[in-house]
């Protein structure tokens, strides 16, 4: 009897300890200091040095994970990655996240440096008055090529459909980015929500596929630089980092327009470390910090005053800082709403085409 009782109690205890461990210890994860901040940022946009500086200055411990497409980030947020304080969406993702209530309306009172945002980013169409997103970096989507292989001057998306470069062309492995070229080459706007236009763009992208070496939205710049690719659809920031090392790499906005993108920081709904989130956002808006970000990432900051702190080869580089008039008339990818289905079905067709 006594042995039974002791056995029973012991094994129950053992079981309880085991499950307690799974759900207790595991939840806590590795030990953290008191002040924390969880960031979910674009890969390559938040230099580790900036985070280190921030930690040193504030004593806040930052953990950050990265994503390589807005879609992945939104999917994770929605799936229950609920512990992030700050996320780093692009313009259309801001619209979608706001609509779904996954990010909070910003309390501008907590952001002392908010006045430092460049004028052209204060009243953007997708988020007027910076209600949900504090613009951080901006750039464009255009074409990059290697002059070793491309002897002509490239001015149009049409070059991405040129038989000459068969097997040496890459497109961005990102649905909406690929559709920029697909739509604009047909004379449509990149933010089209028209089913027929999207269908036409889909056809063009399918027709292009035999010419492609692949889809790549991550190391396309290295591919151009090494000569593996002649011509790629490209995001400006990544290419400019490579251009500094290799003069043979060129970046152009096509005559059809290309698009602009603005990646910024938003506060996640129910952020556990809301105050730290605002401290971080405010920190990034300091001109000297923003200048350092641009110096490290070679991507244009949205903080106006920091431009004069930059060396002239960066501050006056038209590939980094687009001229104001170009910004004004630039096409943005916006939330396509119900038309998203047309894009998704079309993209699946493109990806499965032979």
């Amino acid at each position: 009897m006594s042995s039974f009782v002791s056995w029973g109690r012991r094994s129950v205890l053992l079981g309880a300890v085991a499950f307690g461990l799974v759900f207790g210890l595991a939840v806590s994860g590795p030990a953290h200091a008191a002040g924390e901040l969880h960031i979910y940022a674009w890969s390559g946009e938040l230099p580790q040095e900036i985070v280190d500086d921030f930690e040193k200055e504030t004593g806040i411990t930052v953990t950050f994970d990265t994503f390589d497409s807005n879609e992945t980030m939104m999917a994770k947020l929605e799936a229950g990655a609920t512990g992030y304080d700050i996320v780093n969406p692009s313009q259309y993702a801001v619209q979608i996240l706001a609509k779904k209530g996954l990010i909070e309306e910003l309390e501008h009172g907590k952001i002392a440096n908010i006045g430092n945002i460049s004028e052209e980013f204060r009243n953007v169409s997708y988020d007027s008055g910076n209600k949900y997103q504090i613009p951080y970096l901006s750039g464009s989507t255009g074409l990059a090529y290697n002059t070793d292989c491309v002897k002509e001057e490239v001015t149009s998306w049409k070059s991405l459909w040129d038989e000459k470069y068969k097997g040496r062309i890459y497109m961005l492995d990102n649905m909406l980015a690929a559709y920029i070229a697909g739509l604009q080459v047909n004379g449509f706007r990149a933010s089209s929500t028209n089913e027929a236009e999207i269908a036409k763009a889909t056809e063009s992208l399918i027709a292009q596929k035999p010419l492609l070496a692949g889809y790549n939205s991550t190391n396309f710049a290295d591919l151009v630089s090494s000569g593996e690719a002649c011509l790629v659809e490209a995001w400006s920031g990544t290419v400019i980092q490579v251009m500094a090392e290799n003069p043979k790499v060129r970046y152009v906005l096509p005559q059809e327009g290309g698009t602009m993108w603005v990646d910024g920081f938003s506060v996640a709904k129910g952020a556990a470390n809301r105050d730290n989130a605002y401290i971080f956002i405010d920190y990034l808006l300091k001109p000297e910090v923003a200048a350092k970000v641009t110096k490290l990432s070679k991507i244009a900051t949205c903080v106006g005053k920091s431009r004069e702190l930059l060396p002239p080869e960066i501050a006056n580089n038209p590939a980094i800082f687009l001229p104001k008039e170009q910004v004004a008339k630039a096409d943005f990818i916006l939330d396509a709403g119900d038309a998203m289905k047309f894009y998704q079905d079309g993209w699946t067709k493109v990806k499965t085409a032979q």
Binding site: S3, S6, A18, L21, V22, V27, G29, T66, G80
Partner: protein
């Protein structure tokens, strides 16, 4: 034998068949060594290029250890290694513990649904991991449970438990029940028997099960991709992101370090098994 030698009409045919036979006999060793080359050359090339001074992964420019310094200097990488180790430690421990209990129950005890349980436990080995990962993700979403270390550990236990259980079943079958009976005869209660006899006898197997599960967890990529959450970026997730942004010698250096680490564990396990076998042979003599 004699019959064949006495049949000259078959001579030419058998001569050619001797040659085909000789050729056929060459196939297995040739394939084996070709396959070993196929399996190992890429790894050796990776190791060689981790010492390449050039940034490019192609042009050879002389020896350097810079890429190793870069690996050790990468804070996010260190964090990813820590996260992986944390998850692997827990997933390995749970898998080994649960696997041991389950294996002992299946081998030693009778209970309804035994067949079903042992079959269901094998499911994660034969079903595509991606389906199991998707299912766990959907489950977490449906429960509105947060993604993070908890979901990672649960997912890793799910995919490593079958292996741990298999190892423990083999060990439990080999365990002589008379040992425990003897302990009981000497007046030990079940708990004491388990603690003093069964557990020590199974210890090497439990260690193997733990190492196997922890290694699988440390390298797990598919399950992790789906159920990772806040701050739980493990090493494979980090490597995948790095690979997508371009292959640098830093990845090669990291790969070399991982190869060394994995080999150390493997050699330790094998060495341990050999010593164990040698001891058993000595004992049986």
């Amino acid at each position: 034998m004699t019959m064949r030698a006495d049949a000259p009409a078959l001579l030419t045919e058998s001569a050619s068949s001797v040659w085909t036979t000789r050729l056929a006999r060459l196939v297995p060793p040739v394939f084996t060594f070709a396959a070993l080359a196929f399996l190992f050359i890429p790894i050796f090339v990776l190791i060689a290029y981790s010492f390449n001074a050039s940034r490019s992964t192609v042009v050879w420019q002389g020896l350097t250890l810079d890429w190793y310094a870069a690996v050790l200097d990468d804070r996010r990488l260190r964090q990813a290694v820590m996260n992986s180790a944390f998850v692997a430690l827990f997933a390995g421990a749970f898998s080994a513990a649960i696997g041991t209990l389950t294996a002992l129950a299946i081998v030693r005890r009778q209970f309804p649904g035994k067949e079903m349980l042992s079959t269901a436990l094998l499911a994660p080995i034969v079903l595509p991991e991606i389906v199991i990962a998707v299912a766990l993700l959907v489950f977490m979403v449906a429960l509105k449970a947060p993604l993070g270390f908890t979901s990672m550990i649960i997912g890793h236990v799910l995919v490593t438990l079958p292996f741990a259980t298999l190892i423990m079943r083999t060990a439990a079958v080999a365990l002589d029940p008379r040992l425990e009976e003897a302990a009981a005869d000497l007046g030990a209660n079940e708990w004491q028997t388990f603690l003093r006899v069964t557990l020590p006898a199974l210890a090497p197997a439990i260690l193997s099960a733990f190492l196997m599960a922890a290694t699988l967890s440390f390298d797990n990529f598919v399950m992790s991709t789906f159920v990772t959450g806040v701050g739980s970026t493990t090493l494979p997730i980090y490597i995948y992101a790095q690979l997508k942004t371009g292959l640098t010698p830093q990845i090669n250096a990291l790969g070399t370090l991982l190869v060394i680490a994995n080999m150390t564990v493997l050699i330790a396990v094998i060495g341990y098994q050999f010593r164990l076998r040698a001891r058993r042979q000595r004992l049986s003599q």
